[in-house]
Symmetry: C2
Subunit: 209 residues, 2 copies
Amino acid sequence: MSKILITSGPTRQYIDPVRFLSNASSGRMGAALAAAALEFGHEVTIVSGPVDISYPAEAQVVPVVTTEEMLRESMRLFSQCDGVIGVAAPCDYRPREVAKHKIAKNGEKLTLYFEETPDVLATLGASKTSRQWVVGFALETDDARLKALRKMIVKNCDMLVLNGPSAIDARDNEVEIFLKSGDSAGVFHGTKIELGREIFSLIQKHIIC
Amino acid sequence: MSKILITSGPTRQYIDPVRFLSNASSGRMGAALAAAALEFGHEVTIVSGPVDISYPAEAQVVPVVTTEEMLRESMRLFSQCDGVIGVAAPCDYRPREVAKHKIAKNGEKLTLYFEETPDVLATLGASKTSRQWVVGFALETDDARLKALRKMIVKNCDMLVLNGPSAIDARDNEVEIFLKSGDSAGVFHGTKIELGREIFSLIQKHIIC
């Protein structure tokens, strides 16, 4: 039995008290992976951004809003876990300043300055010990396979799952799974429930053993 | 029996194929107002941005994503309706350019240029005939009552409901309702279901009669 951390869902970076930058990640793939890991008898903790889906009742869920919160909670919990599956889609940019009041329309153009948020998966990858493992997800819209492999190396992952933008907020998905050797384990298509089982079986076979 | 249009939920303005600017509007207040209007025997059509809640089955729902789509569908439907309740929180800003590919992190700062989206409520207010009515919602974080009254005048509304940022994505809410005369009809507190009934009763009493 392993203790597995899953990051899931989007995060939000507010530009004022009302408006935020985010993405449509639903948390469904995270829920499916959690269900699969629980079926294999593992213990699961999920750090999740704001989602409307329900996670398996047997999983411990730690809710967060921003990327910074997701990083902080994930780092805290990862030290007690054997591995992490980073399926969350953390918001990559935050405004350099957050307006204290709701920005009022005045007929003028609005220029906003953003900086990159810390990379949750890369930070977990950099911190992992020799007995820990990291599985990453990448969502790319161009040069997808090349960028996915590069992410696996840069973020120190033991497996990387590549999906396209059609995956977001959808029930079905198609993914390609890369092993640590750089070899593709194949392209898989199905519901997120089916893919959760497929991906976790590969984690079990190639990483947890 | 009146034909009533309700705009509800947030809209999204994408900056690239994955990321968007939005807000946490849940559509709950729209659903509560729809339920109240249906209870009074009216016919209800809802133009809704992306939400996870369920609207009453008796209402016709037209789903949209962007503010431009919400405006187009609302204008099309409003011409066949007696009145509109604009409870949606349309995203007020859109990027001047939408990146074709996912913007890649490169360690640099990101500057984004936004312009205002068309104002859905103001456009509906400007188009209304003498036999039509418009009820608006305003969410303000500072100088709230003054800004709310100004919005009622500028957007040609027959009633305006003011709420604070704590209303967003919450089950409970506190609102102040302004009549066309500029008089306050009072401050009301309760669940969104209760407030939906309260607000719609005032619309029925003061506007539909």
